[in-house]
Amino acid sequence: MTFHSVRFSPSGKSTQVAEGATIWQAAQLAGEPLRAECGGRGACGRCLVRILEGQVPEYRVLHRESGYPHALACLTPVHGPLTVQPLMEAQLPKLISGGGNVGMAPLEAWAPWPLRLDPIVPSGEEGDLGVAADIGTTTLRLLLIRLSDGVIVGEAGAYNPQIARGADVISRIVLAERGSACELAASVRGAVASMIVEAAEAGEADVASIRGYAVAGNLAMIHLLLGADPSGIRRVPSEPAALAFPPARASALGWPGGDPAPVFTAPAAGGWVGGDIVAGAARAGFSRSSGTALYVDLGTNGEIVLGGAEFALACACSAGPAFEGGGIRCGMRADRGAVDGAAIDAETGAMQLSVIGGGRVRGVCGSGLIALADELFRAGWIDRAGRLTDRAPARFRAEGKWGPAIALSADGKVALWERDLASLIRAKAAVFAGIRSLAGCLGAGAPAIERVIVSGNFGRFLNLPAALGIGLLPGMPLGLYSYVDNGSLEGAALALLSRAFFAEMHSYVSRMTYVDLADLPGYMDEFVAASFLPHTSPESLRLGTEE
């Protein structure tokens, strides 16, 4: 077998790979951080490299710049010695918000009904600690909590390192099926372990005092974390290995703590409505709710729970990554330089953007996208199908290979394209159609919805009037809406500190009915009807007040 050397510039890392291996594989071996959010299928373009020296097959060359060929590392085979330079930012940006939860007592701040401190793990000593964690597809967050008094002593957040291998749940399940399950499990376990150390150091706590863990996350993430086979989740019908897992041992996951420190996980309602949502609904007090409430978790998947104390319906709709700034040409996470709001004066044609951290516009984040779309729509710069109208002033119009756009930076390089708006409209239509479909399942005599709880990455950054303006959420009085910053994490913290809450989470999940939207013939119809600003029939935005 022939081997070739592959060197990465400017890091200088290098390795030898077998003839025919991809540059991506070389990067893995060399330890060069290269991202492939699509899981190495040549779709995301994150692993673009410049070939500085050496030859790559001509059919893999996407284009040339200053004479250097550019190619996707994940698809390009190595047939000779190469020197390559990664072109995209490989490091994940640092998470902005720490959360500011240290010093808080979850039982006082978050409990939906009075809960007594009764930790899920036996705790005898003064310094005993517990960990509550939210394992998200995109972000990981954890709280280090003192069990004796239920006070948060440390916290940490990080991006899920699995992102580098696949941005969405499906691509990670596919990777696991193809033999990367151990690697995916190791990367997320390792990330959590270092977050624990980080949180403990900040709180001057001793990780050896950790007595137990309560973890919530979507079902695929929990499968990957615990090493269960996730492949059944993405099949039809969805058949996860389990909806609720027995406690695992922290030591088996490589997490610190006195042995045996158990790791409890929140139970899931269905393949696509995981423990994160169940924990969130319990945190929002669904199991003790007198009337009907609606819980909407906005993310790559929009998860929806509709119900009350007696029963609930839950579904997940695939919204795509638009709410997280993904799949949007100039989309980005809510980071420095992201547009997070806009104001247009329709009279003068002036547009003012609000940018996180001030300064130069680098892109648009999910909440900014919603605010911007609503503002553009209200100013009449886009029509109800999300396309630019003649009323958009010429100085804000840009035209490029992706069609027409609204320029957000003076040079027009940062812009909101019509097709980005189309992605957003599809995303909001998927969520709203899900809400309508669940409400439809309740039938004609359905009780009116008395409150709406919004959770998800936006948290309270979501511009609620804008979300209602574009028809993402039902047009109910703003006073009925409330936010839960991170229902999953908060529910996990409550479960850690209260056996009663953990037990109630389990009993509530047995009263939840998982609705697979693919089984509802009306869903597509609702989706098309919602694929309009704000809706094809705006009266439909008022739920429970018609028919």
């Binding site: 029509d383 109800r384 199908a385 119809d525 098309v528 009807a529 694929s531 309009f532 094809t536 029939s537």
Partner: protein, 324 residues
């Protein structure tokens, strides 16, 4: 025991849309306030109107049986229009400018405008003009045609959700009716009408083409979408209450069952009768679903549909087309 029918009163009604103005003898369609053919509970001031399809160039793809009646005038739109009117008794004529398609003759917008002018000079009924299909070419052709026939109240076929702005502007500027086409989807039909209304198109000057399949090729799907459009319209939805136009002939004659020759399919029987039956069954179903303008290919289908309408609505009152 006697059965007492309780007529259903609807909140809404279908808009009455008048095709043709200027030098045309106008034809009004729509205006009914009940479900299609429910003459026992609604008032239908205008019967469905029938158009025959003529083309700018010889339609080589037409089945032999559909070409027969047009022998000698295929590709001569003015002569075909005269025959459609005088011999076949059409209410309207639809000129399909298929020859302007880049792959089927690539005729210029100027030539198309000349064809339309010739048909306008030859007959005095309203004219539906169908372009080569959505895209820049259709916009160019229909814009030029609209300009040429300014004030004649043509029905321009058609605007779609992806590309409606040019034709909306043209229809408004030159005083024409705009046909709004949607892909067998009630929501998109409504969305397009909302977009057109936002683009200052008068909703009393539009028709909905819900798009149809021929018998056996998705007709039932169209049927239920049309039924839902009609129910919404009668329920008071102002963005879905335009009259509907269906290209029944084109779709029916696409079916293998309509166009296969007796030589190819000896067991299917006489191809002429078979094709006409196929078109007739398609058109009847569409009328039952609420179509107000039917575009047909074979004159015998038209004649037989008229007989059927007389059965449903009674003999036409002399000097008017009032049904009740």
């Amino acid at each position: 025991m006697s059965l007492e029918l309780k007529p259903k009163k609807w909140a809404g009604a279908i808009r009455a849309v008048t095709l043709g103005s200027g030098s045309r003898k106008p034809v009004t369609v729509g205006g009914g306030n009940g479900l299609p053919l429910h003459t026992f509970e609604g008032v239908f001031p205008h019967r469905p109107a029938f158009a025959l399809e003529i083309t700018d160039v010889d339609p080589a793809r037409w089945a032999e049986a559909a070409r027969g009646p047009w022998d000698g005038v295929l590709g001569s739109p003015a002569a075909a229009a005269r025959r459609a009117l005088r011999e076949f008794g059409a209410d309207l004529v639809m000129l399909h400018l298929c020859g302007t398609h880049p792959d089927r003759g690539n005729r210029t917008p100027e030539e198309a405008a000349a064809d339309v002018r010739a048909v306008l000079d030859a007959v005095d009924v309203p004219l539906i003009v169908k372009g080569p299909g959505a895209g820049p070419r259709q916009n160019d052709v229909l814009a030029r045609v609209a300009e040429e026939a300014k004030g004649e109240g043509l029905a321009l076929h058609s605007a779609c959700q992806e590309d409606y702005k040019t034709l909306a502007a043209v229809a408004v500027a030159y005083g024409h009716i705009l046909v709004a086409e949607s892909p067998i989807d009630m929501n998109i039909a409504k969305q397009l009408n909302i977009l057109l209304a936002d683009a200052s198109v008068d909703m009393n000057r539009t028709l909905i083409d819900p798009l149809t399949g021929g018998l056996g090729y998705g007709l039932e799907y169209t049927y239920s979408v049309m039924e839902r459009i009609r129910l919404a319209a009668l329920g008071g939805d102002a963005m879905l209450n335009a009259p509907m136009i269906c290209l029944a002939g084109e779709e029916a004659w696409k079916a293998k069952e309509a166009k296969a020759s007796s030589r190819q399919e000896p067991r299917w029987g006489d191809e002429r009768r078979r094709g006409i039956h196929w078109e007739l069954a398609t058109a009847l179903a569409l009328i039952e679903a609420g179509a107000e303008v039917l575009v047909l290919r074979h004159p015998e289908t038209l004649a037989r549909l008229r007989t059927q309408l007389d059965c449903w609505f009674g003999d036409p009152a002399p000097g008017g087309d009032s049904c009740r």
